[in-house]
Protein backbone atom coordinates (compact mmCIF):
# COMPACT_ATOMS: atom_id res chain seq x y z
CA UNK A 1 0.00 0.00 0.00
CA UNK A 2 2.91 2.33 0.51
CA UNK A 3 4.74 1.65 -2.73
CA UNK A 4 4.73 5.30 -3.69
CA UNK A 5 6.48 6.13 -0.47
CA UNK A 6 9.12 3.48 -0.54
CA UNK A 7 10.45 4.40 -3.97
CA UNK A 8 12.10 7.57 -2.88
CA UNK A 9 15.79 7.04 -2.28
CA UNK A 10 17.05 8.31 1.05
CA UNK A 11 20.03 10.50 0.68
CA UNK A 12 22.75 10.36 3.26
CA UNK A 13 22.41 12.81 6.09
CA UNK A 14 25.60 14.65 5.16
CA UNK A 15 24.32 15.15 1.63
CA UNK A 16 21.11 16.55 3.05
CA UNK A 17 23.06 18.73 5.42
CA UNK A 18 25.01 20.21 2.55
CA UNK A 19 21.93 20.66 0.42
CA UNK A 20 20.12 22.48 3.19
CA UNK A 21 23.13 24.61 4.03
CA UNK A 22 23.48 25.63 0.42
CA UNK A 23 19.75 26.35 0.10
CA UNK A 24 19.80 28.76 3.00
CA UNK A 25 23.11 30.32 2.04
CA UNK A 26 21.93 30.99 -1.48
CA UNK A 27 18.62 32.23 -0.13
CA UNK A 28 20.48 34.82 1.95
CA UNK A 29 22.39 35.97 -1.09
CA UNK A 30 19.33 35.99 -3.30
CA UNK A 31 17.35 38.04 -0.81
CA UNK A 32 20.19 40.50 -0.51
CA UNK A 33 20.67 40.86 -4.23
CA UNK A 34 17.02 40.81 -5.25
CA UNK A 35 15.86 43.47 -2.82
CA UNK A 36 18.36 46.14 -3.78
CA UNK A 37 18.85 47.69 -7.17
CA UNK A 38 22.61 47.82 -6.83
CA UNK A 39 22.89 44.24 -5.63
CA UNK A 40 26.47 43.16 -5.92
CA UNK A 41 27.76 46.72 -5.86
CA UNK A 42 26.75 47.01 -2.22
CA UNK A 43 29.00 44.19 -1.16
CA UNK A 44 32.01 46.01 -2.57
CA UNK A 45 30.88 49.57 -2.01
CA UNK A 46 30.96 49.26 1.75
CA UNK A 47 34.60 48.18 2.00
CA UNK A 48 35.53 50.65 -0.74
CA UNK A 49 34.05 53.62 1.05
CA UNK A 50 35.62 52.57 4.34
CA UNK A 51 38.96 52.05 2.66
CA UNK A 52 38.63 55.47 1.06
CA UNK A 53 37.98 57.08 4.42
CA UNK A 54 40.88 55.41 6.17
CA UNK A 55 43.13 56.11 3.24
CA UNK A 56 42.25 59.78 3.41
CA UNK A 57 42.59 60.03 7.18
CA UNK A 58 45.80 58.11 7.60
CA UNK A 59 47.61 58.71 4.34
CA UNK A 60 46.57 62.24 3.45
CA UNK A 61 45.89 63.81 6.85
CA UNK A 62 48.18 62.01 9.26
CA UNK A 63 51.00 60.96 6.95
CA UNK A 64 50.90 57.59 8.53
CA UNK A 65 53.93 55.73 9.73
CA UNK A 66 52.21 52.36 10.00
CA UNK A 67 51.31 49.60 7.59
CA UNK A 68 53.04 49.12 4.28
CA UNK A 69 53.03 50.55 0.77
CA UNK A 70 50.87 50.73 -1.25
CA UNK A 71 48.70 51.52 1.72
CA UNK A 72 45.37 51.06 -0.07
CA UNK A 73 46.26 47.44 -0.85
CA UNK A 74 47.42 46.98 2.71
CA UNK A 75 44.12 48.39 3.96
CA UNK A 76 41.87 46.37 1.69
CA UNK A 77 43.65 43.11 2.40
CA UNK A 78 42.65 43.55 6.04
CA UNK A 79 39.36 45.33 5.55
CA UNK A 80 37.72 42.83 3.19
CA UNK A 81 38.21 39.82 5.47
CA UNK A 82 37.19 42.00 8.41
CA UNK A 83 33.89 42.68 6.63
CA UNK A 84 33.32 38.95 6.45
CA UNK A 85 34.07 38.50 10.13
CA UNK A 86 32.09 41.53 11.20
CA UNK A 87 29.09 40.76 9.00
CA UNK A 88 28.81 37.12 9.97
CA UNK A 89 29.28 37.71 13.70
CA UNK A 90 26.85 40.60 13.89
CA UNK A 91 24.27 38.70 11.83
CA UNK A 92 24.67 35.66 14.02
CA UNK A 93 23.21 37.66 16.90
CA UNK A 94 19.93 37.38 15.03
CA UNK A 95 20.49 33.94 13.56
CA UNK A 96 17.61 32.39 15.50
CA UNK A 97 15.48 35.39 16.30
CA UNK A 98 14.99 36.47 12.72
CA UNK A 99 14.25 32.96 11.54
CA UNK A 100 12.18 31.96 14.54
CA UNK A 101 9.21 30.79 12.49
CA UNK A 102 11.32 28.67 10.24
CA UNK A 103 13.30 27.22 13.13
CA UNK A 104 10.02 26.31 14.79
CA UNK A 105 8.69 24.48 11.77
CA UNK A 106 11.61 22.59 10.26
CA UNK A 107 13.87 20.08 11.87
CA UNK A 108 17.05 20.73 9.94
CA UNK A 109 20.25 20.46 11.98
CA UNK A 110 20.35 23.64 14.00
CA UNK A 111 24.01 24.43 13.36
CA UNK A 112 22.97 25.31 9.82
CA UNK A 113 21.38 28.50 11.10
CA UNK A 114 24.82 29.73 12.01
CA UNK A 115 26.88 28.13 9.28
CA UNK A 116 24.72 29.61 6.54
CA UNK A 117 25.83 33.06 7.71
CA UNK A 118 29.45 32.01 7.65
CA UNK A 119 28.86 30.76 4.14
CA UNK A 120 26.96 33.69 2.69
CA UNK A 121 29.31 36.28 4.15
CA UNK A 122 32.27 34.19 3.02
CA UNK A 123 30.91 34.10 -0.51
CA UNK A 124 30.42 37.85 -0.45
CA UNK A 125 34.03 38.14 0.66
CA UNK A 126 35.18 35.96 -2.21
CA UNK A 127 33.10 38.06 -4.60
CA UNK A 128 34.77 41.22 -3.34
CA UNK A 129 38.29 39.95 -4.01
CA UNK A 130 38.41 41.35 -7.55
CA UNK A 131 38.42 44.77 -5.90
CA UNK A 132 41.62 43.86 -4.07
CA UNK A 133 43.11 42.53 -7.29
CA UNK A 134 42.18 45.73 -9.09
CA UNK A 135 43.84 47.98 -6.55
CA UNK A 136 46.87 45.73 -6.41
CA UNK A 137 47.21 46.21 -10.15
CA UNK A 138 46.66 49.94 -10.00
CA UNK A 139 49.02 50.35 -7.06
CA UNK A 140 51.52 48.03 -8.70
CA UNK A 141 51.82 45.91 -5.61
CA UNK A 142 54.05 42.95 -6.16
CA UNK A 143 52.47 39.53 -5.83
CA UNK A 144 54.64 37.06 -3.94
CA UNK A 145 54.57 33.26 -3.76
CA UNK A 146 53.04 33.63 -0.29
CA UNK A 147 49.72 34.05 -2.05
CA UNK A 148 49.39 30.29 -1.54
CA UNK A 149 48.54 31.12 2.09
CA UNK A 150 45.38 32.88 0.98
CA UNK A 151 43.22 29.72 0.98
CA UNK A 152 44.69 28.73 4.34
CA UNK A 153 43.66 32.09 5.73
CA UNK A 154 40.16 31.54 4.42
CA UNK A 155 39.95 28.13 6.04
CA UNK A 156 41.15 29.52 9.37
CA UNK A 157 38.72 32.38 9.15
CA UNK A 158 35.85 30.02 8.38
CA UNK A 159 36.70 28.05 11.52
CA UNK A 160 36.94 31.24 13.55
CA UNK A 161 33.71 32.80 12.32
CA UNK A 162 31.84 29.52 12.77
CA UNK A 163 33.14 29.17 16.32
CA UNK A 164 32.24 32.70 17.36
CA UNK A 165 28.85 32.44 15.67
CA UNK A 166 28.06 29.21 17.50
CA UNK A 167 28.77 30.92 20.80
CA UNK A 168 26.93 34.14 20.08
CA UNK A 169 23.81 32.86 18.30
CA UNK A 170 22.30 30.71 21.06
CA UNK A 171 23.33 32.97 23.93
CA UNK A 172 21.62 36.01 22.42
CA UNK A 173 18.34 34.13 22.61
CA UNK A 174 18.61 34.18 26.41
CA UNK A 175 20.46 37.40 26.92
CA UNK A 176 19.13 39.94 24.48
CA UNK A 177 21.66 42.48 25.77
CA UNK A 178 24.33 40.40 24.18
CA UNK A 179 23.23 41.70 20.81
CA UNK A 180 24.38 45.18 21.67
CA UNK A 181 27.38 43.93 23.58
CA UNK A 182 28.46 42.06 20.46
CA UNK A 183 28.18 45.17 18.33
CA UNK A 184 30.31 47.05 20.83
CA UNK A 185 32.86 44.27 21.02
CA UNK A 186 33.10 44.23 17.24
CA UNK A 187 33.77 47.95 17.13
CA UNK A 188 36.48 47.52 19.71
CA UNK A 189 37.92 44.57 17.87
CA UNK A 190 38.15 46.57 14.67
CA UNK A 191 40.75 48.82 16.23
CA UNK A 192 42.27 46.05 18.29
CA UNK A 193 43.00 44.05 15.17
CA UNK A 194 45.69 44.81 12.62
CA UNK A 195 43.51 46.33 9.91
CA UNK A 196 44.60 49.94 9.61
CA UNK A 197 47.99 49.08 11.08
CA UNK A 198 50.19 46.03 11.25
CA UNK A 199 51.07 44.10 14.39
CA UNK A 200 54.67 45.04 13.64
CA UNK A 201 53.70 48.64 14.47
CA UNK A 202 52.60 47.69 17.97
CA UNK A 203 54.87 48.27 20.95
CA UNK A 204 56.94 45.24 21.81
CA UNK A 205 54.97 44.59 25.00
CA UNK A 206 51.73 44.07 23.09
CA UNK A 207 53.04 41.56 20.57
CA UNK A 208 52.24 38.44 22.52
CA UNK A 209 48.83 39.75 23.44
CA UNK A 210 48.08 40.59 19.81
CA UNK A 211 48.92 37.10 18.69
CA UNK A 212 46.09 35.80 20.85
CA UNK A 213 43.74 37.71 18.63
CA UNK A 214 43.22 35.10 15.91
CA UNK A 215 42.55 37.84 13.39
CA UNK A 216 46.20 38.93 13.64
CA UNK A 217 47.48 35.66 12.27
CA UNK A 218 44.71 35.42 9.69
CA UNK A 219 45.21 38.91 8.33
CA UNK A 220 48.96 38.25 8.28
CA UNK A 221 48.34 35.24 6.06
CA UNK A 222 46.17 37.24 3.69
CA UNK A 223 48.63 40.08 3.53
CA UNK A 224 51.61 37.84 2.93
CA UNK A 225 50.51 37.69 -0.70
CA UNK A 226 51.59 41.30 -1.15
CA UNK A 227 53.64 41.98 1.96
CA UNK A 228 55.61 38.84 2.92
CA UNK A 229 57.08 40.56 5.97
CA UNK A 230 53.59 40.77 7.48
CA UNK A 231 53.69 37.04 8.08
CA UNK A 232 54.50 36.19 11.68
CA UNK A 233 54.73 32.51 12.46
CA UNK A 234 53.93 32.93 16.16
CA UNK A 235 50.77 34.86 15.33
CA UNK A 236 49.65 32.26 12.82
CA UNK A 237 50.23 29.33 15.15
CA UNK A 238 48.65 30.92 18.20
CA UNK A 239 45.84 32.26 16.02
CA UNK A 240 45.15 28.84 14.50
CA UNK A 241 45.06 27.37 17.99
CA UNK A 242 42.61 30.05 19.07
CA UNK A 243 40.39 29.34 16.05
CA UNK A 244 40.20 25.66 16.83
CA UNK A 245 39.65 26.37 20.51
CA UNK A 246 36.83 28.80 19.75
CA UNK A 247 35.18 26.30 17.43
CA UNK A 248 35.37 23.68 20.16
CA UNK A 249 33.86 26.03 22.71
CA UNK A 250 31.25 27.07 20.17
CA UNK A 251 30.17 23.51 19.48
CA UNK A 252 29.97 22.79 23.20
CA UNK A 253 27.93 25.91 23.94
CA UNK A 254 25.67 25.21 21.02
CA UNK A 255 25.09 21.60 21.94
CA UNK A 256 24.29 22.32 25.55
CA UNK A 257 21.97 25.22 24.82
CA UNK A 258 20.17 23.88 21.76
CA UNK A 259 17.30 22.35 23.72
CA UNK A 260 16.67 25.54 25.63
CA UNK A 261 16.97 27.72 22.53
CA UNK A 262 14.25 25.75 20.77
CA UNK A 263 11.91 26.19 23.71
CA UNK A 264 12.60 29.87 23.93
CA UNK A 265 11.95 30.98 20.38
Amino acid sequence: MSTALAERPRRSSSARYRQTLWLLTSRDLRVRYSTSALGYVWSILDPLVMAGIYYFVFQVVFHRSVGADPYIVFLLSGLLPWMWFNGAVSDSTRAFIREAKLVRSTKIPRTIWVFRLVGSKGIEFALSLPVLALFALLGQAELHWQVVFFPLAMVLQTVLVAGVGLIVAPLVVFFRDLERATKLALRFLFYASPIIYSTADLPESLHVLASFNPLSGIFGLYRAAFFPDQLDLLEVLVGAGMCVLLLGVGLAVFRSSERAVLKEI
Binding site: R8, R11, T35, V103, S105, K107, R259, K263
Partner: protein
Protein backbone atom coordinates in the same frame (compact mmCIF):
# COMPACT_ATOMS: atom_id res chain seq x y z
CA UNK B 1 -8.71 -1.32 11.50
CA UNK B 2 -5.39 -0.98 13.28
CA UNK B 3 -2.47 -1.04 10.90
CA UNK B 4 0.27 -3.41 11.87
CA UNK B 5 4.00 -3.39 11.28
CA UNK B 6 6.89 -1.74 13.03
CA UNK B 7 6.18 1.57 14.76
CA UNK B 8 7.04 4.70 12.81
CA UNK B 9 6.74 6.97 15.83
CA UNK B 10 8.06 5.90 19.18
CA UNK B 11 7.62 8.22 22.13
CA UNK B 12 9.14 6.89 25.30
CA UNK B 13 8.82 8.46 28.74
CA UNK B 14 8.86 11.95 27.30
CA UNK B 15 8.75 15.01 29.50
CA UNK B 16 9.39 18.62 28.71
CA UNK B 17 9.26 21.69 30.89
CA UNK B 18 8.93 25.33 30.14
CA UNK B 19 9.52 28.45 32.11
CA UNK B 20 6.44 29.94 33.56
CA UNK B 21 7.51 33.46 32.92
CA UNK B 22 9.34 34.18 29.73
CA UNK B 23 11.27 37.08 31.08
CA UNK B 24 12.72 35.08 33.92
CA UNK B 25 16.38 35.41 34.60
CA UNK B 26 18.63 32.69 33.59
CA UNK B 27 22.20 32.27 34.60
CA UNK B 28 25.09 31.07 32.52
CA UNK B 29 25.49 28.33 35.10
CA UNK B 30 22.13 26.87 34.16
CA UNK B 31 23.20 26.52 30.61
CA UNK B 32 26.00 24.17 31.43
CA UNK B 33 24.62 22.38 34.46
CA UNK B 34 23.41 18.87 34.09
CA UNK B 35 19.66 18.97 33.52
CA UNK B 36 18.82 16.80 36.52
CA UNK B 37 20.73 19.00 38.95
CA UNK B 38 19.01 22.19 38.03
CA UNK B 39 16.56 23.66 40.38
CA UNK B 40 14.09 25.83 38.61
CA UNK B 41 11.35 27.27 40.71
CA UNK B 42 9.59 29.05 37.86
CA UNK B 43 9.15 26.03 35.67
CA UNK B 44 6.36 23.63 34.94
CA UNK B 45 6.16 20.35 33.10
CA UNK B 46 4.16 20.79 29.91
CA UNK B 47 4.31 17.07 29.34
CA UNK B 48 5.39 14.35 31.67
CA UNK B 49 6.00 10.69 31.23
CA UNK B 50 4.24 10.34 27.90
CA UNK B 51 4.79 7.06 26.08
CA UNK B 52 3.13 5.59 23.04
CA UNK B 53 3.90 4.01 19.72
CA UNK B 54 2.34 4.61 16.37
CA UNK B 55 2.36 2.03 13.62
CA UNK B 56 2.61 2.89 9.94
CA UNK B 57 -0.71 3.91 8.47
CA UNK B 58 -2.40 4.83 11.72
CA UNK B 59 -4.38 8.04 12.02
CA UNK B 60 -4.19 9.52 15.46
CA UNK B 61 -6.16 12.37 16.91
CA UNK B 62 -4.92 14.26 19.94
CA UNK B 63 -7.58 15.73 22.19
CA UNK B 64 -7.44 17.80 25.33
CA UNK B 65 -8.14 21.27 26.54
CA UNK B 66 -6.05 24.27 25.71
CA UNK B 67 -2.67 24.27 27.37
CA UNK B 68 -2.57 20.55 28.09
CA UNK B 69 0.39 19.93 25.86
CA UNK B 70 -1.19 18.92 22.57
CA UNK B 71 0.79 21.25 20.34
CA UNK B 72 3.91 20.59 22.35
CA UNK B 73 3.48 16.89 21.71
CA UNK B 74 3.11 17.56 18.01
CA UNK B 75 6.25 19.66 17.96
CA UNK B 76 8.13 16.95 19.78
CA UNK B 77 7.08 14.44 17.14
CA UNK B 78 8.11 16.92 14.46
CA UNK B 79 11.44 17.14 16.32
CA UNK B 80 11.42 20.90 16.24
CA UNK B 81 11.77 20.92 20.01
CA UNK B 82 13.64 18.39 22.07
CA UNK B 83 12.39 16.63 25.20
CA UNK B 84 14.05 17.07 28.60
CA UNK B 85 13.47 13.47 29.51
CA UNK B 86 12.78 10.40 27.45
CA UNK B 87 13.19 9.96 23.73
CA UNK B 88 11.22 10.58 20.58
CA UNK B 89 12.14 8.63 17.50
CA UNK B 90 10.48 8.98 14.16
CA UNK B 91 11.30 6.59 11.39
CA UNK B 92 11.52 8.49 8.15
CA UNK B 93 10.58 12.05 7.49
CA UNK B 94 7.77 14.18 8.71
CA UNK B 95 5.60 16.61 6.77
CA UNK B 96 4.67 19.13 9.44
CA UNK B 97 1.62 21.24 8.74
CA UNK B 98 2.63 23.43 11.65
CA UNK B 99 3.24 27.11 11.08
CA UNK B 100 3.23 26.22 7.44
CA UNK B 101 3.84 29.72 6.15
CA UNK B 102 6.83 30.16 8.46
CA UNK B 103 9.44 29.18 5.93
CA UNK B 104 8.32 31.56 3.24
CA UNK B 105 10.43 34.62 2.53
CA UNK B 106 8.46 37.79 1.84
CA UNK B 107 10.87 39.23 -0.71
CA UNK B 108 11.29 36.16 -2.89
CA UNK B 109 8.91 35.06 -5.60
CA UNK B 110 6.44 32.23 -5.16
CA UNK B 111 8.62 30.07 -7.38
CA UNK B 112 11.75 30.64 -5.30
CA UNK B 113 9.77 30.04 -2.15
CA UNK B 114 8.41 26.72 -3.35
CA UNK B 115 11.92 25.52 -4.15
CA UNK B 116 13.23 26.82 -0.85
CA UNK B 117 10.57 25.33 1.40
CA UNK B 118 10.36 22.00 -0.37
CA UNK B 119 14.16 21.87 -0.38
CA UNK B 120 14.33 22.55 3.34
CA UNK B 121 12.07 19.60 3.88
CA UNK B 122 14.46 17.41 2.00
CA UNK B 123 13.19 17.35 -1.56
CA UNK B 124 15.77 17.43 -4.31
CA UNK B 125 15.58 19.93 -7.11
CA UNK B 126 14.55 17.28 -9.63
CA UNK B 127 11.71 16.14 -7.42
CA UNK B 128 10.47 19.68 -7.03
CA UNK B 129 10.70 20.30 -10.78
CA UNK B 130 8.53 17.28 -11.28
CA UNK B 131 5.86 18.44 -8.85
CA UNK B 132 6.04 22.16 -9.35
CA UNK B 133 3.03 22.49 -11.64
CA UNK B 134 1.00 20.19 -9.48
CA UNK B 135 1.75 22.34 -6.44
CA UNK B 136 0.83 25.56 -8.19
CA UNK B 137 -2.34 24.02 -9.57
CA UNK B 138 -3.39 22.82 -6.18
CA UNK B 139 -2.88 26.26 -4.69
CA UNK B 140 -4.70 27.84 -7.64
CA UNK B 141 -2.19 30.63 -8.03
CA UNK B 142 -0.78 29.97 -11.47
CA UNK B 143 -0.96 33.67 -12.30
CA UNK B 144 1.25 34.65 -9.38
CA UNK B 145 4.20 32.32 -9.75
CA UNK B 146 6.67 35.15 -10.16
CA UNK B 147 5.02 37.56 -7.75
CA UNK B 148 6.91 38.27 -4.53
CA UNK B 149 5.36 36.27 -1.74
CA UNK B 150 4.57 39.38 0.28
CA UNK B 151 2.13 40.58 -2.39
CA UNK B 152 -0.10 37.53 -2.12
CA UNK B 153 -3.33 37.69 -0.20
CA UNK B 154 -3.30 35.87 3.12
CA UNK B 155 -5.53 33.15 1.69
CA UNK B 156 -3.12 32.54 -1.16
CA UNK B 157 -0.22 32.40 1.26
CA UNK B 158 -1.81 29.60 3.22
CA UNK B 159 -2.85 27.80 0.04
CA UNK B 160 0.61 27.72 -1.45
CA UNK B 161 2.10 26.71 1.88
CA UNK B 162 -0.33 23.84 2.29
CA UNK B 163 0.22 22.79 -1.31
CA UNK B 164 3.97 22.54 -0.81
CA UNK B 165 3.98 20.72 2.51
CA UNK B 166 1.24 18.30 1.46
CA UNK B 167 3.27 17.34 -1.61
CA UNK B 168 6.22 16.20 0.46
CA UNK B 169 6.68 12.49 0.21
CA UNK B 170 7.10 12.00 3.91
CA UNK B 171 5.54 9.00 5.61
CA UNK B 172 4.23 10.98 8.59
CA UNK B 173 1.90 13.97 8.41
CA UNK B 174 1.42 16.27 11.37
CA UNK B 175 -1.53 18.62 11.36
CA UNK B 176 -2.09 21.34 13.93
CA UNK B 177 -5.33 23.20 13.43
CA UNK B 178 -4.14 24.69 10.15
CA UNK B 179 -7.32 23.55 8.54
CA UNK B 180 -9.19 26.28 10.31
CA UNK B 181 -7.92 28.72 7.70
CA UNK B 182 -8.87 29.33 4.12
CA UNK B 183 -12.33 29.42 2.59
CA UNK B 184 -14.70 26.50 2.73
CA UNK B 185 -13.97 25.17 -0.74
CA UNK B 186 -10.25 25.14 -0.17
CA UNK B 187 -10.65 23.59 3.25
CA UNK B 188 -12.59 20.75 1.70
CA UNK B 189 -9.82 20.36 -0.85
CA UNK B 190 -7.27 20.14 1.94
CA UNK B 191 -9.35 17.49 3.66
CA UNK B 192 -9.55 15.46 0.50
CA UNK B 193 -5.82 15.78 0.07
CA UNK B 194 -5.27 14.49 3.59
CA UNK B 195 -7.58 11.59 2.89
CA UNK B 196 -5.60 10.78 -0.24
CA UNK B 197 -2.41 10.83 1.76
CA UNK B 198 -3.94 8.51 4.31
CA UNK B 199 -5.07 6.17 1.56
CA UNK B 200 -1.45 6.16 0.40
CA UNK B 201 -0.54 4.52 3.67
CA UNK B 202 0.75 7.55 5.47
CA UNK B 203 0.58 8.08 9.18
CA UNK B 204 -1.44 11.03 10.41
CA UNK B 205 -1.06 12.89 13.66
CA UNK B 206 -3.83 15.44 14.09
CA UNK B 207 -4.38 18.00 16.81
CA UNK B 208 -7.81 19.53 16.75
CA UNK B 209 -10.67 20.76 18.83
CA UNK B 210 -13.09 19.95 16.10
CA UNK B 211 -14.78 16.63 16.79
CA UNK B 212 -15.99 16.31 13.23
CA UNK B 213 -12.49 16.61 11.82
CA UNK B 214 -11.18 14.14 14.33
CA UNK B 215 -13.78 11.51 13.63
CA UNK B 216 -13.42 12.03 9.90
CA UNK B 217 -9.76 11.08 9.82
CA UNK B 218 -8.77 9.29 12.99
CA UNK B 219 -9.41 5.93 14.54
CA UNK B 220 -7.19 6.20 17.54
CA UNK B 221 -7.27 8.98 20.09
CA UNK B 222 -4.75 10.28 22.58
CA UNK B 223 -6.27 12.28 25.40
CA UNK B 224 -3.93 14.64 27.21
CA UNK B 225 -4.79 16.22 30.50
CA UNK B 226 -2.48 18.11 32.83
CA UNK B 227 0.51 17.23 30.69
CA UNK B 228 -0.07 13.52 31.02
CA UNK B 229 -1.38 10.98 28.60
CA UNK B 230 -4.50 9.83 30.39
CA UNK B 231 -6.06 7.78 27.64
CA UNK B 232 -4.79 6.01 24.55
CA UNK B 233 -7.31 3.99 22.58
CA UNK B 234 -10.20 4.22 20.15
CA UNK B 235 -11.00 7.79 19.26
CA UNK B 236 -14.66 7.58 20.25
CA UNK B 237 -13.66 6.57 23.74
CA UNK B 238 -11.05 9.29 23.97
CA UNK B 239 -13.61 11.87 23.00
CA UNK B 240 -16.02 10.44 25.53
CA UNK B 241 -13.46 10.60 28.33
CA UNK B 242 -12.61 14.12 27.34
CA UNK B 243 -16.27 15.09 27.22
CA UNK B 244 -17.04 13.65 30.64
CA UNK B 245 -13.96 15.21 32.27
CA UNK B 246 -14.69 18.59 30.79
CA UNK B 247 -18.37 18.83 30.02
CA UNK B 248 -19.08 21.60 27.56
CA UNK B 249 -20.41 24.55 29.47
CA UNK B 250 -23.89 25.61 28.44
CA UNK B 251 -23.58 28.80 26.53
CA UNK B 252 -24.84 31.67 28.58
Amino acid sequence: MRASGPPVIRVDGVGIRFRRNRRGRRSFKDLFADSSRRSRPGEFWALQDVSFEVAAGEAIGVVGRNGQGKSTLLKLVAEVILPDTGTVSVDGGVAPLIEITGGFVADLSVRDNVYLTAGLHGMSKAEIDERFDEIIDFAEIAAFVDTPYKHLSSGMKVRIAFAVISRLDEPVILVDEVLAVGDKAFREKCYRRIEEMLADGRTLFLVSHNERDLTRFCERGLYLDGGRLVFDGPLAEALERYGSDHPPRPSA
